[in-house]
Symmetry: C2
Subunit: 342 residues, 2 copies
């Protein structure tokens, strides 16, 4: 970046004003945004959904290869994804930042540019912001508020025996994108004139650096008149999320290896890295796809939705949770998902 303006030149209030100026509120439920002790929202007869995420540098993101604009976009989108996963619509977000001296005002403008873009794409209002110093890098706390219709909010605990297990998009690509970035970083560290070659791997990078939330799937389910019996988004990995749904629904499940949707770039990378492809798809995480169950009677309707795949079914709880391999063998599902505390 050519210009570097120190944050101290604006101060805390000046910085927030600078970053949040010209923000127009679009949603009817956004009564008052940035600039008071709290945001004011009016949800009338809708129910209110609230989700929050704390992202810390060095744990959740690595600024060596994540551009700040992408980081801002992703920080917002992963929270929208949680609201869609309740069959809701995200409407507002608040963003709090902890910033070390390493960052300039231009850096934060980049980050906010990404947040704004995500808000624009998904029709969300930024209604609160806060910045403070940090001793050690960047901390981002995002809270997203959304609306759900009474009786149409979908929890994790409603899956019933014989329900179909469905997943949107494809799995494992974001994880492969991360592996790719980590590898190039290591290569880069040893070699001065190294320029990473990502050609043919764009999809993996996009899935890792600029994920999207499946607003479209929520709309298509609605258009098809399907109300899932349970739903969540795949952030920690399919295995881990399936165990959440089955535990909370007091059920078991069978999913089929051959039905797990995987992009060919993911498969090629797994081959190159000598990794087990199914393991990556089951446990990779950060896919932000929707995992949901529908009654068996919705089979035909759900099969017709583009970008959704039926990967298995719900069973009695005593049958446990298993992946059925191509050879018919069964492997128990374990939560080996991404876990920053391990």
């Amino acid at each position: 970046m050519s210009t570097r303006t120190e944050i101290a030149t604006l101060g805390e209030f000046g910085l927030i004003r600078h970053l949040t100026q010209n923000i127009a509120l679009k949603n009817a439920s956004s009564v008052k945004g940035v600039g008071d002790d709290a945001a004011v929202l009016d949800y009338k007869d809708k129910q209110v959904l609230v989700t929050t995420d704390l992202l810390l540098e060095g744990v959740h993101f690595d600024l060596t290869y994540v551009p700040l604009k992408h980081l801002g976009y992703k920080s917002a989108v992963v929270n929208f994804s949680d609201i869609y996963a309740m069959n809701g619509q995200p409407k507002q977000i608040t963003v709090s930042l902890g910033i070390s001296k390493r960052f300039s005002i231009e850096d934060l403008e980049e980050l906010y540019e990404g947040i704004r873009l995500a808000c624009e794409v998904y029709g969300v209002d930024l209604v609160g912001g806060d910045t403070s110093a940090s001793l050690t890098g960047l901390s981002i706390s995002v809270t997203c508020i959304g609306e759900g219709e009474k009786g149409r909010i979908v929890y994790r605990n409603g899956a019933k025996e014989t329900d179909l297990v469905c997943v949107s998009g494809d799995l494992g690509a974001a994880y492969m994108g991360l592996q790719l970035l980590e590898r190039e970083k290591q290569v880069f560290n040893g070699e001065k004139d190294f320029v990473p070659d990502f050609s043919g791997k764009e999809y993996l990078l996009e899935r890792q650096l600029k994920p999207e939330a499946r607003k479209d799937i929520i709309q298509m389910l609605r258009d098809a008149d399907i109300l899932p019996t349970s739903m969540m988004d795949v952030s920690d990995g399919l295995s881990s999320e399936l165990l959440h749904i089955t535990q909370q629904s007091h059920a078991g499940c069978r999913i089929y290896e051959e039905r797990i949707p995987i992009d060919y770039q993911t498969a090629v990378m797994a081959e190159q890295f000598n990794m087990n492809l199914v393991t990556a798809a089951l446990n990779g995480g950060e896919d932000y796809e929707l995992l949901f169950t529908v009654p068996l009677t919705d089979h035909e309707k759900v099969e017709q939705i583009k970008g959704v795949k039926v990967i298995g079914h719900i069973t009695k709880p005593e049958l446990g949770c298993y992946l059925v391999g191509r050879d018919g063998g069964e492997v128990e599902l374990k939560a080996q998902g991404w876990n920053s505390l391990r």
Copy 2:
């Protein structure tokens, strides 16, 4: 602490389950708490207030002298304070933690104990939680959601000429408590067998370590049938907050030195530290008292509220914002408040 259990023994999901188990939801608006992609709230005909705070170790708190239980209590209460400052009632909070390896499960239990206690005292439900690793100490992100009645929410921008400027409680004590703790820490660092003597200074420590939000004042204003024209809580210092209110209300103000409420312990400490008492009261911050304006016609009613003091009045904007000294001299108010980015 006698026992130390490593967080790794529980893992991320285990930890959250452990910390949030046995949490019963008390408020009618809390439909679904911890355990899904988002919390579900039902505010019916009420408006929704949302505020959020990111607290970072070494910037916002120092664990050398802040007990974790107090930190938990304070983290929750300062957010409740923001909701009261809108003339609202806090109803739910979510808490996200970033935790370095230094912390044990027992440490986090202490922290949550404080959060729970605050929730109990103020009638708030804990509806969401999240924990992840941190490379560098403790990060706490709290979001508080509350309800406000349409038409009775009080913003910062409604102060009118001739309105009375009022403040609850007393000012500067939390700042003096901080100075005291910082001094004892320095002394302690040099001397091995040093036991700090805080006798006679309990109030200052309490104001710093265990502040309360002025729920009582909101209730008393309601009972007295007073709707403030503007209001905010004093977190950055009276001067800074007065400038927010007058800027947003396009007004000026005069406040009177002799009317600023100061506890005698604060005065004694300022003397000992050789600090200007009025400066400490104006700029100290972290008082979490309510600063508000009421129409002149409410003068008698507001004078009768215990714990509220009229400290000045609102003027035309061109008259600026000044403190009138005991000698009649005027000093312009400046935002020298606590600012972590300086």
